[in-house]
Symmetry: C2
Amino acid sequence: MGLTKTEIFTDAQNEIARLAKAFAHPARVAILHHLFKSNTCICGDLVDEIGLAQATISQHLKELKNLGLIKGNIEGTSVCYCIDQTKWKEMKLLLTTFFDQDINSNNCC
Amino acid sequence: MGLTKTEIFTDAQNEIARLAKAFAHPARVAILHHLFKSNTCICGDLVDEIGLAQATISQHLKELKNLGLIKGNIEGTSVCYCIDQTKWKEMKLLLTTFFDQDINSNNCC
DNA sequence: TTTATATATTGCAATATTACGATTAATAAA
DNA sequence: TTTATTAATCGTAATATTGCAATATATAAA
């Protein structure tokens, strides 16, 4: 028990859930927000700007990287994280298509 | 530890995360999909259509109801669940606004 | 009232997530 | 080389989520 039964859902449903997890924690929302806001590709400044330990931020960054939504470029001793525009657009299309289901639906209650 | 530090994030960040959780599990994605697909307001058919135990479906429905995304009308012994169109539109606006941040951002890497 | 049906709730086990201190690894500067 | 700086990883504790059997609740039908 406690294990999500991925096999009984469609690929699309699993992929939507997988991507939505990126936004299902305020720290990751904050990280993404910071990455968009700063013109310069911020790196470990995230640790200062968001009030979480370095290990915690690093873990969240790893999850976002695993989803493909961000990428990291090593620059000397620090790492520059950026949004992966291609993957971001892909994610946007998948999720907004799901959200727009309401347009063609007639509610009964 | 293990407790999300909501207090260090903005209200918007917390709300985005809260709503994104609705889509962060394939069972809930499947439930919402079924609710949109069926013109008649389906009720416990979800248990048959999705391969999860009745108690599990009921729990996911409760979470979606708590987020305000769906509402349930009691009809005899069964309950008719539907999308709450107003809340859905609200959620859509909040999340798509967040997703559209890429439009005004210039990536550096 | 009794019985059947549908849904919610409870209790519990398994697994996942969140957070952080400590450590490691890797590069830059002295 | 030695030392500082930055980020990743490891280990661990606390908490949350997922799933289901069993039970409770509530209405409909007999």
